[in-house]
Symmetry: C2
């Protein structure tokens, strides 16, 4: 059993080409013994975004705080604190925090261990 | 891609022997196409608890709001809004919201699809 909070978890800048204003934390990883999937947290500053990309694994998201956009190939979803999102394997996607916002958007991004 | 929030997700009383004051929602399930694992949400009212039990799968938790206790076999963890918890397969555990609290404890409880 293991309990933590974001203030105890190291923050890094993920080496993702095309990302801007994004930091990453991994509160629950294979290192803690989780056998199948893990919880990462991305903080996206106003004006920031993750890459517009796809990959062969899914994202399960929960928006902890802030608001922004989840961009898809031909559509976009406004997301905000309290929302859940699912991005399926192979779906092109991007998380954006528009520059007009005044708060970081903080999201849980759960993925299978093999992809963390 | 799929976006939702708890106010759009049906609430049920889970048929868990030993549970008191607990309701369940499943914002992201296999029904939405998640290939490996899903997000359930449990709301535990003050004075409520999940069963003290174990099972052959893990829980990955995030405390959305409220506070309470995560009980283990020989220890307990105070948990509150913003905390993350990992319960490993086979670990005996219980989530409790003590009756002195004035707010429900709402937690994400992510598990492999096979166990939802």
């Amino acid at each position: 059993m293991f309990v933590t909070s974001l203030d105890k978890v190291e923050k890094s800048t993920p080496p993702m080409p095309g990302a801007r204003g994004v930091t990453k934390q991994v509160p629950i990883s294979a290192g803690e013994g989780t056998p199948n999937f893990c919880f990462r947290v991305f903080t996206i500053e106003p004006g920031g975004n993750t890459p517009f990309h796809s990959h062969p694994f899914e994202h399960l998201n929960y928006v902890i705080s802030g608001k922004g956009l989840l961009m898809a190939e031909n559509s976009q979803y406004a997301i905000q604190s309290g929302d859940f999102a699912l991005v399926l394997p192979g779906e092109k996607h991007q998380y954006r925090n528009p520059s007009g916002n005044c708060e970081a958007m903080v999201i849980i991004c759960a993925v299978p261990n093999d992809y963390e």
